[in-house]
């Protein structure tokens, strides 16, 4: 059973995922927390989060962390969905309003998300504004239903306990 993991003391809003029976081989590679390969051939490791009540996820390809929202410094002449930059341990990271980026923004003044999920690879890390964090989940690669044609930022969906989790493509999201 995987619990939600927040690096900086976020609430443990765990939605217990259905226990997944892992093969012996995958347990070894699932060992590394917050790091290691996302897809180990057989296994898909995801971190899920919520936007407008729906569950989405990223593949965990590198380390990731979750922080409470902080003041973001605006940067001029960047797309609207980039709120600005945030300094995290000496690194300047862009902060993206995911709802705006995905086009599912609910009109409200001064939307400030409950959490910022920092994810991405070595080259392109960013902080994503999310309503809440789900959990780290593992699935068999086979259970991913890929889209027949690449559509926007969606790679595909995985089903857990009857609910669909939309897997988003970080690289596409960060390709401005």
């Amino acid at each position: 059973m995987m619990e939600a993991k927040s690096k900086r003391g976020g609430p443990k809003e765990a939605r217990s995922p259905k226990p997944v029976r892992l093969k012996q081989g995958t347990i070894a590679s699932a060992g590394k927390r917050h790091g290691g390969k996302a897809t180990d051939g057989d296994t898909l490791r995801l971190v899920s989060f919520f936007l407008n009540g729906d569950e989405y996820a990223f593949e965990i390809s590198g380390a990731f962390e979750v922080i409470k929202p902080r003041e973001v410094t605006e940067v001029p002449q960047v797309p609207d969905f980039i709120r600005g930059i945030l300094s995290v341990r000496g690194e300047m990271l862009p902060v993206m309003d995911l709802k705006a980026r995905l086009g599912i923004a609910v009109p409200e003044d001064d939307y400030v998300s409950k959490r910022i999920l920092i994810a991405g690879g070595e080259e392109c890390k960013a902080g994503f504004m999310v309503d809440g964090i789900g959990a780290i989940k593992e699935f068999k690669a086979k259970s991913l239903k890929r889209l027949k044609r690449a559509e926007g930022f969606l790679i595909g969906t995985v089903t857990s306990k009857g609910d669909a989790i939309s897997l988003l493509d970080i690289d596409k999201l960060l390709d401005i």
Binding site: T73, V75, P76, I85, S87, R89, E91, M92, C124
Partner: protein, 681 residues
């Protein structure tokens, strides 16, 4: 294929070490060359070059860089003959050795990839020729197999030791691969007071993860004594090669200063005694990060201390905290300066690289050019020094190509036949100024104007309007060249624009001074360190920015009327200051932000920024404070013109740092459009 040796990292270290050795070899060769011209050959210089070749041979052998080994070996042989005075140092010989050195440099910078075999063989043949002219020395009673393994110098020392009636022992030792340098060094230090290390030879023994050596020593001490010294050494084998017998102590030719060479030969084979440590740049970056975070924490303590003071008046703890805070401030500044200091390197390291470069250019172009430098001790950040290598190379190449006249022409105009390029460096505030001066033909403004128009880079009517300085700056435009024919080294119009780009990236400035017929001077002004800068925190339109102070020339108050002059959508107006027309920029407009409560009628401030003789005014609403900040770059996807980076000021938030040269350049380009309004300050 080259095997990368023991570990990838070790190979990288080898490359760095090799570069170092080749560097000092190069310096030695130049000294030698000058000595030859003057008719004097310094044996110490010759010997040090020899040792460099020897070390290169040994090291490259460990990493299977066979081409380097072959070439170094050939060089070493020739140098050995030279230092034992067996052959003459003719220009031809010197030339071959220098070519050998250059080839080594090239192979190393190509990371020992193959492809140089032909050139190496060619050079080896040349070098071997020289050895044929030497005499062969008679062999001694020593095992000829051993002798063949020793270099002639070592054999020489062996003979001397024998003649002196010393014991000759061979110590077989082994060390683990990962720590052999330490093991070897400590072994040597144990031995050094009692014996002369004649030679250290790789042994034919092999083992797992172990390196085996045979150390040949000559000593007056007996076997028992030496064995006693080394009783801690594991796996030591001992062989006696020779013992003093009743040999006639006569017939010992006077030896010229052997001990001097002995000291040096100890360290030469495997390790150079050095009092420096190599550190990876990213370790230093990490240190810098930690230091700057510490700085933020320190600031928090300071503000809390200030609060306490304000609230509680003269509480005991408040005062204590304040006192401790001051101590913390002092120590922190020391720490920060030390860490910054670690990254600094003397600019001489950079300058030295151009010696061989100019030599080669000089030969290739048929002109006589020499290069001198001063201010070599001036320090700057290692990264900046590296970034300067290319621009300086381009400038120097341009000088040799365009500026320095042919020897005959120089003679006729009363100049020395040898053209001189002078590199100077000195500190100026928190900048380093690097000057490249030549005594060549100077730059011809008319020619530049003509060529610029010809190449379609500017229009004729624009060109006529330009000031002298601006004409000279035309050479930085991509595609500009005064050559009609492309040569091997120049004429393609690429080079000076790269220089400009690189210098601008370093937040630096290039200025040119020239006098026709006399010479030209390039002046590069760069901040000595990028990491921490002094900044002025300002507020404009309710947004705070950090402006690097090194670009600020003065701060002036602007009359209220000016604000109204800047209508939304129009980035700039002009003001008059000290009889100069200066463009004034409102940041909100420049960045396309909505102009909120800016126009409230109050006086505002103009930050006058300057680069060379360009001036720009940035109007702001408030001046907040001046402090040291650490600039971090913005993420790649968010690079915006006019912004150099951001700085985390802890409690005070994260601010954007302005790129003043960038804003200035942008404005200058906009200047083509007629300016709307003028207001007198």
């Amino acid at each position: 294929m080259v095997k990368k040796g023991i570990k990838g990292d070790r190979f990288k270290e080898f490359l760095v070490e090799a570069e170092d050795i080749l560097n000092s070899m190069g310096t030695g060769l130049l000294k030698l060359g000058r000595g030859v011209k003057a008719g004097i050959i310094d044996p110490a210089v010759l010997n040090s070059i020899f040792r460099s070749a020897h070390t290169m041979k040994g090291m490259s052998g460990l990493f299977n860089c066979s081409e380097i080994t072959t070439l170094s070996h050939a060089l070493e042989d020739t140098l050995d003959l030279l230092r034992l005075d067996r052959i003459n140092l003719t220009n031809d010989v010197l030339d071959s050795i220098m070519s050998g050195h250059e080839l080594l440099v090239r192979i190393v910078s190509n990371k020992c990839e193959d492809g140089f075999t032909e050139e190496v063989e060619e050079l080896k043949v040349r070098l071997v020729e020289y050895s044929r002219t030497g005499k062969v020395q008679g062999k001694d009673k020593i095992d000829s197999e051993l002798l063949s393994v020793l270099t002639e110098y070592e054999a020489h020392r062996l003979k001397v030791n024998l003649q002196d009636g010393k014991y000759i022992f061979i110590l077989g030792v082994s060390f683990p691969v990962t720590s052999f340098d330490k093991g070897y060094a400590s072994l040597i230090s144990i031995l050094q007071d009692s014996a002369e290390i004649i030679a250290t030879l790789p042994s034919s023994k092999t083992g797992r993860e172990m390196l085996f050596f045979d150390i040949l020593i000559g000593t007056v001490k007996k076997k028992k004594f030496i064995k006693g010294l080394l009783k801690e050494t594991e796996g030591l084998t001992f062989k006696t090669l020779a013992e003093p017998s009743e040999r006639p102590s006569a017939s010992r030719p006077a030896e010229a200063a052997p001990p001097a060479f002995t000291d040096e030969s100890r360290g030469e084979t495997l390790r150079r005694a050095s009092d420096t440590v190599r550190v990876k740049i990213d370790k230093l970056d990490n240190l810098m990060n930690i230091v700057s975070e510490l700085g933020i924490i320190k600031s928090s303590i300071e503000s809390m201390s200030a609060e306490l003071k304000n609230e509680g008046g003269l509480s005991f703890y408040g005062i204590e905290l304040s006192r401790i805070g001051k101590e913390l401030e002092r120590k922190f500044t020391e720490l920060r300066d030390s860490v910054l200091g670690v990254r600094m390197v003397p600019v001489g390291q950079l300058f030295n690289r151009f010696d061989t470069f100019v030599d080669r250019l000089s030969r290739e172009s048929g002109k006589e050019v020499r290069i001198v430098s001063n201010g070599d001790d001036t320090e700057l950040d290692k990264i900046i020094a590296e970034q300067l290598a290319d621009p300086l190379m381009h400038i120097i190449r341009n000088i040799v190509d365009h500026a320095i006249e042919a020897p005959r022409a120089r003679e006729q105009s009363g100049k020395r036949m040898v053209g001189t390029i002078t590199l100077s460096a000195f500190q100026k505030g928190n900048h380093v100024v690097i000057e490249v001066r030549d005594d060549g033909a100077g730059m011809d403004e008319e020619l530049i104007k003509r060529k610029a128009v010809e190449k379609g880079l500017v229009e004729k009517r624009v060109v006529d309007d330009l000031s002298s300085q601006e004409v000279l700056e035309l050479i930085f435009m991509p595609g500009f060249t005064t050559k009609d024919v492309v040569s091997a080294t120049s004429g393609r119009g690429v080079g000076m624009d790269v220089v400009k780009d690189n210098i601008t990236k370093l937040s630096g400035v290039v200025d040119i001074e020239t006098a026709k017929g006399k010479g030209t001077k390039f002046v590069l002004t760069i901040p000595s360190t990028l990491a921490i800068i002094q900044a002025l925190i300002v507020e404009e339109n309710s947004v705070r920015y950090a402006i690097p102070l090194n670009s600020v020339v003065e701060i002036t108050e602007l009359a209220p009327g000016l604000n109204g002059a800047g209508t939304p959508g129009e980035a700039a107006s002009t003001i008059m200051l000290n009889d100069r027309k200066i463009t004034c920029v409102k940041l909100a407009n420049f960045f396309g932000r909505s102009n909120g409560s800016g126009t409230n009628g109050d006086a505002t401030y103009g930050i006058i920024a300057g680069l060379a003789d360009q001036r720009l005014c940035i109007s702001v609403d408030r001046l907040l404070e001046e402090l040291d900040v650490v600039i971090k770059p913005l993420p790649e996807m968010l690079k915006v013109p006019g912004i150099a980076g951001a700085t985390d000021m802890g409690e005070k938030g994260t601010l954007l740092v302005l790129d003043v040269p960038g804003i200035l350049e942008h404005q200058l380009r906009e200047r083509k459009q007629p300016v709307k309004q003028e207001t007198v300050v």
